[in-house]
């Protein structure tokens, strides 16, 4: 079995759901350093410090023949001191496990520089949250949910640009930390993720992302999220993402922004 061989940064970095992507959004790139002739993978850890909460994650993914990807992510949304104000208790945390699968369908983001056709992939993310009672108390319907998405990614090398657009069918409230479906809307809605990046060098991408989210719960509005990010390939196998994120209001606490830091090791 062959390992390695992928060009720097073309495996993407680990996004907030543990999939190959940017920071907030899931891309069509396949994780791992493998080419179409081998297998690869990536492990990662992410910390997001927000105005009134924090989020930490770790996980990993396996890339198969640059064609498919399976990922697993364990996430803790920590309410810290805010937990007491919410009546949940200090340092109350929501834990979530996300299992993801992605299949590349057609197109090529990297090599087909003579065509506009992006690389297109479809996938799903199965999310399991452990706080059933709280989710029901705030109007959430379920503690598990599945997101379905189609992502299109293109590197425009002659412009040094990386572009991505993703459509997601989801019921998730705050990425799933507040459950799935709600008293205001319990069904699926279509959400959009867009990313645009500029390749400063073969190792450094700077860009911005925008992600819309459902607004299913009556007790608190949910807003779109955005980030300004830099992804850096420290070595061929080690990469880091640093971003400024704004996730909007979360559970009545306004304007949650802060720093997103993620480290990934790929093979």
């Amino acid at each position: 079995m062959q390992f390695g061989g992928k060009l720097d940064l073309t495996r993407g970095v680990a996004n907030v759901e543990g999939a190959g992507g940017g920071g907030l959004s899931t891309w069509a790139l396949i994780t791992g350093n493998e080419t179409r002739d081998g297998v690869g993978g990536q492990v990662y850890g992410t910390y997001v410090g927000l105005s009134d909460y924090s989020l930490n994650e770790f996980g990993g993914g396996v890339g198969l023949f640059d064609r498919g990807e399976i990922s697993l992510s364990r996430q803790t949304f920590d309410t810290g001191a805010t937990g007491a104000k919410l009546g949940l208790g200090k340092n109350f945390a929501f834990d979530q496990t996300v299992v993801g699968a992605k299949l590349r369908l057609f197109g090529d983001a990297v090599y087909a520089q003579d065509s506009w056709m992006p690389q297109v992939a479809a996938g799903l993310q199965y999310k399991m949250n452990d706080r059933t009672a709280i989710i029901h108390a705030v109007g959430g319907k379920d503690d598990t949910g599945v997101d379905y998405y189609v992502a299109a990614t293109k590197i425009l090398l002659d412009q040094s640009l990386v572009l991505n657009g993703t459509l997601r069918e989801t019921r998730a409230n705050q990425f799933g930390f507040l459950g799935f479906g709600g008293d205001r809307n319990s069904g699926y809605s279509t959400q959009f993720e867009g990313s645009a990046g500029y390749l400063v060098s073969r190792r450094l991408l700077v860009g911005a992302e925008y992600r819309t989210k459902p607004d299913n719960l009556g007790f608190a509005h949910e807003n779109s999220a955005y980030d300004l990010l830099a992804a850096f390939a420290i070595t061929h196998s080690l990469s880091a993402t640093a971003a400024y994120v704004n996730l909007g209001d979360i559970a009545t606490f306004r304007n949650q922004r802060g720093f997103y830091i993620s480290l990934q090791a790929g093979f």
Binding site: D8, Q113, L157, L199, V200, R202
Partner: protein, 163 residues
């Protein structure tokens, strides 16, 4: 003493040999710029960023040296005609980057026939080329414009090298 002098002379000849090496004959083919497999970049900004013919010469020398030592690619170049490869690669880069050159080598498919190349080889070449251009001080934006021309050659180079 005689013996030592003779040995030294022989060694000197061996060392000097590559400078006098001539290109090996190849199977006849039709020469055409179209063999480069892509239209040149409009304008000569990228050619200038590569520091013209001389810069391209340094980049190609560095690229060939890296490909010959990288364990991923070394075996593929074991029996190569480096005189010819150097000349045709310089022509190729000069022509594609918008310089005042003609490409006189074979088309990409014929040049890489039967080599059984994989993406891992292609990507190794791309990275050595990037390293060589970095050493030459070529800005990344210009590197990327040249690489955008070479990236689609994965099809005639890698895919077509299987048969």
């Amino acid at each position: 003493m005689m013996m030592r002098t003779a040995l030294l002379a022989a060694a000197a000849l061996l060392i000097a040999a590559p400078a006098f090496a001539e290109e090996q004959p190849v199977k006849p083919y039709v020469q055409s710029d179209a063999n480069a497999g892509t239209k040149p970049i409009a304008g000569d900004a990228v050619f200038k960023a590569l520091h013209g013919q001389e810069g391209i010469g340094r980049i190609v020398d560095d690229l060939i040296a890296s490909l010959r030592t990288d364990p991923v690619t070394a075996d593929i170049f074991k029996a190569s005609d480096f005189e010819r490869l150097r000349r045709t690669l310089i022509e190729d880069f000069c022509y594609v980057s918008g310089g005042p050159c003609h490409y006189t080598g074979m088309d990409m498919k014929t040049a890489h026939q039967h080599m059984g190349l994989q993406d891992i080889h292609f990507n190794a070449l791309v990275q050595h080329l990037e390293d060589a251009m970095n050493k030459e001080g070529v800005p990344f934006r210009d590197q990327a414009r040249l690489l955008a021309k070479f990236a689609p050659m994965r099809t005639p180079v890698v895919d077509a090298s299987q048969n």
